[in-house]
């Protein structure tokens, strides 16, 4: 900031700085002395000071009014890390898909017998009643996967599952394990959405899933 010109008269910046300090209520006694000296030579200073004070009050009113909306803007909730319960629920959703696929294949697929032979069908609708009670779940799943491999709807299965629980058997020999078996399935869908965030009310916000490979590795175990 420049101070004085060669004739000892404060330059424009210093004049404005002194006025600015008065407006902000932080002018020192020395500042006032200086200002009065300028005012004695330049009476227009007092008018400028009055106008500048008026402008400042109006600007404060403008800013206060323009930014008052800020008081209504609260911080959003921090995203909550997924709990074990959430993860199990997520698995359950996809597990539901797997079960549904198995049942659909068992009912609507080719006629399946426990021995794996296809029955000859004279049914004109192509649907033959199958007694599912004769099948164990594992057998049905195995058949569904086999069928999926053939028609391309089950391209593979991940080698590593996700262990949920392991207990020693009461017999003392062996363990009972509960795990997620990741089966890769292929489907054609009309819409592909995921829900990475929620709105202010906590409702999931759907967004299109980016197209292309989602994982860098391929299934390590083909059926």
């Amino acid at each position: 900031m420049s101070t004085h010109d060669t004739q000892g008269i404060p330059t424009g910046d210093e004049r404005e700085l002194l006025m600015s300090r008065v407006i902000d209520g932080r002018a020192t006694a020395n500042d006032w002395l200086h200002l009065e000296a300028i005012g004695a030579r330049e009476p227009g200073l007092w008018r400028d000071l009055a106008l500048a004070q008026r402008d400042q009050r109006q600007l404060e009113a403008f800013v206060a009014r323009s930014t008052e909306i800020a008081d209504a803007v609260e911080l959003p909730e921090a995203p909550r890390p997924l709990s074990l319960q959430d993860r199990v629920r997520a698995f359950a959703v996809w597990g539901g898909w797997a079960v549904a696929a198995v049942v659909a294949l068992a009912v609507l697929g080719p006629n399946i017998t426990p021995g794996g032979n296809q029955q000859s069908s004279g049914n004109t609708a192509g649907i033959v009643p199958v007694d599912l009670s004769n099948f164990r779940g594992e057998e049905l799943l195995s058949k569904a996967l086999e069928r999926g491999r053939e028609d391309g709807t089950v391209p593979g299965e991940l080698a590593d599952g996700y262990l949920i629980r392991a207990n020693a058997l009461s017999t003392g020999q062996g363990y009972e394990v509960m795990y997620v078996r990741p089966i890769v399935v292929k489907r054609r869908v009309n819409n592909l959405l995921h829900f990475p965030s929620v709105d202010e009310a906590g409702n999931p916000l759907p967004q299109p899933v980016p197209l292309g490979p989602a994982f860098t590795s391929v299934p390590r175990r083909a059926l």
């Binding site: 900031m1 330059t11 424009g12 600015s20 200073l45 400028d48 800013v63």
Partner: protein, 209 residues
Amino acid sequence: MASGSEERIPFRGDRSGSEKPADPLALRAAWEENRRWVAAVLLAHKPAWADLEDLLQEVAATLVASSAELRDPASLRSWLRTVAINAARLAGRKGRLRNHRSLDLAADGSQAVREPTDTLPAAPAALAVAEEASRIGDMAMALPEGYREPLLLKAVQGLSYRQIGQILGLPETTVETRIARARRMLREQAQAATGEPSGRISHGEGSNA
């Protein structure tokens, strides 16, 4: 608006360097203390049509998302300003046309449509004051950015020169000089607009701060 509060904003659970999430209460308090001036920064940088509330929400969301990374509470103000400016500029780049809010003012000086804040008719005197404030506000918004932002920040109640310097990353003396010059520009614009003569005898101009 609180002042001098940067010393008591422990965002993180401790200072051991671990990536613990921020203390939600401290974070909320910090936001409430700073959101008014953040709005002023947005006002200084956003396109006229961009919705101030939307931009504030973006800044708030960024603060929450990045809170675990905020290691130095003293740098919060400059960080918030950077986030606010980025949000305002991004809005400009996206060119999204949002609904105009009543308080958004057109940067080109044209009169934006202003909705009444309530259903009661305003008293003529109050209306005149509000219109005059808007007129000065329009002029302030037309100032060069380097002067506009500190001037608007000084108009936020409770902000000191030291705090403005922290926000802008400038020495206090530079802030003071810019505000003084901005006030002169504003006064001269207002006088020119109303045809009032300046009360000032011409003096030499100072150097740029």
